[in-house]
Symmetry: C3
Subunit: 280 residues, 3 copies
Amino acid sequence: MYNHLGVLCVFVVNRLTATISLTTDFGAGSAYVAAIKGVILCINPDARIVDLSHSIPPQDLRFADFFLASTIPFFPPDVLHVVVVDPGVGSARRLLYVEAAGNRLLVPDNGCWTSLARLAAGQVEALALTSEQYWRHPVSPTFHGRDILAPVAAQLSLGLQPEQLGPPVTDWITLQTPEATLELGGQQAKGEVIFVDPFGNLITNIPAAMVDAIGPAAVRIGDQTVTRRVRTYAEAPKGSLVTLISSYGTLEIAVVEGNAAERLKMGVGSAVTVHQQPTV
Amino acid sequence: MYNHLGVLCVFVVNRLTATISLTTDFGAGSAYVAAIKGVILCINPDARIVDLSHSIPPQDLRFADFFLASTIPFFPPDVLHVVVVDPGVGSARRLLYVEAAGNRLLVPDNGCWTSLARLAAGQVEALALTSEQYWRHPVSPTFHGRDILAPVAAQLSLGLQPEQLGPPVTDWITLQTPEATLELGGQQAKGEVIFVDPFGNLITNIPAAMVDAIGPAAVRIGDQTVTRRVRTYAEAPKGSLVTLISSYGTLEIAVVEGNAAERLKMGVGSAVTVHQQPTV
Amino acid sequence: MYNHLGVLCVFVVNRLTATISLTTDFGAGSAYVAAIKGVILCINPDARIVDLSHSIPPQDLRFADFFLASTIPFFPPDVLHVVVVDPGVGSARRLLYVEAAGNRLLVPDNGCWTSLARLAAGQVEALALTSEQYWRHPVSPTFHGRDILAPVAAQLSLGLQPEQLGPPVTDWITLQTPEATLELGGQQAKGEVIFVDPFGNLITNIPAAMVDAIGPAAVRIGDQTVTRRVRTYAEAPKGSLVTLISSYGTLEIAVVEGNAAERLKMGVGSAVTVHQQPTV
């Protein structure tokens, strides 16, 4: 009897841990996000939905890749991460169920999990979603997040085995994601702008750890050298050109209460170098 | 004994499914939303709260109506939807408990669920909230969402029967919500702008399905004809006047990286026509 | 046996009520917030996470103080509130576990809970977090929210006794938070602007109740007197200078579809007076 109770308890707790996270580019409060939540709860009323972000810049796969690699590794393996950043929706691109270093994702096959796969260093498996019986019908040509990913996530949270979803694949799309490199024996880092935020701040791919390792440094972008490093915008007067560590954990170039992208005429892909010795 | 265990299990699972969704015009991160969550959790600590949207444009009943009809039908019936878009708060307007085609809502009686009622095609019942013993006292004249709707939602999630809330009503307010119409044997759709988003994009009430049914088309608004149809803003050069399907599933008129409302001098209520044959 | 079942049931329900709220200045959809959620769920997969706000203005302790005092008292005592508004991260500032009038918080020792402590009127206890075995290692110097507060919150939600976290302290930091005062026998209120929102609206610390008690009134700020009181921006024509009750429950001075801070050249700290008799 005690054993039986134990089993019951495990069962109940298992249902509690059916957690599904959502990452989309729909914007906070979008009706699209609400619809996805509804579809999940229709299939598994006990699923717990966690909003990861709905603020991925629209269609921005490189940013999504960056975001997922910055966040998913912090989660326990039993969470299922649904990613709807899907510029190719309606085209022939596949949808995938992915396990990368124990983390489980449902993603469009557009490379948005490239850095996560790299972090997993070979511990990666993927399936193409082809078993239409787990989808919501009719499937909208423009909203596979609601009609395929959401119902599949809910079924998985109820115990569906991933193998039922479709055949294994190994030829998934990989993004060319620029990686920052440390050079000159650790005295210089080279990277690039990977995202311009709504305020015109230039977010680079140079990790804080790399910047910290270099120590006192000057940052070069275009023909400008930025020597002022702050922790927060508020530390420098309005209009100052500064560098800081962004909320994404990487080097950011900003104009205090201004727009760095406009002032420097720089954007995604602009080269950025961090030098150990201030040049000014 | 086994049966008894089964009953226990059902009881626990039932408590899990007490899900309350919130739709407000308070803005993400508003202290008002936080207060509503607190009041709900005080009464039912196990209630699961799902954010539907806090980005309804302030006081915009037509938008709320549109949002609710676009999202609520995706949810299972046991979810309770609390809607706090309430320009009439503090006036004599009633608050309602509504069941529409199985979906359950707590709403101000201001017509914000008109389209949902229409979708329910007669399967609608409503009660006026009059039983003050289920309210939070003193009731603020400007925040019935916190002091009436939130505690009533929490009580319902604990099993309170709706009949306890107040008397049935049938004379609820109905919004005049413009509906798009298909004309000329399906060759033309007529609708209007129902929302201007923060970027000046003109969101119409013409559903994607209607636009798709017409096929290659030109869109007429004011004295402008828009022939360029894109899936995403990024497909056309900056400054282009384009149409696309909005994240609300309807026709949208936009200027790429610009403000369509300002450029066309159009806004909520402007007539929009979709013609089967491009006129340009 | 029945008793035994009862115990089991209580255990399960207890786990359900492990609710952790998050209040940060990271912005909605930030990767930082996602990382905090992941760390919590790794330690307690059954923790229920409630987003309170991620829209606290960056580093704005006075706003955070205002926000927390406006929202936390609505929550039941068993909720654990994690607050990550932490301009001093990486400095010698302490992190605290606080109980104030039954509400439980994990906060940086920067005064962000000053008003909450005042509301608790002496029913306040605090511990400094020093027991590093409950932290996530290595601890990032710039992200104690993720590496200290999140894991400590998760451990508490699993039943860790607060006494394990570190020694009691009584010398916590207190903010100088300006409080509005009622003068002239209730005919006049004096306060100040405590926050300028993204639209330039001036949010004051004068509570709605104080404004209502005065009755018909004129509001003085700088050399301007504002006599038009609205409930919503939409009630007055574009460009009108108006007062209303903000979504934070206090007096707000706004320009309809305009920027009051720029037009009046006023900001945080500007004195505001509410007179019973209109002066114009």
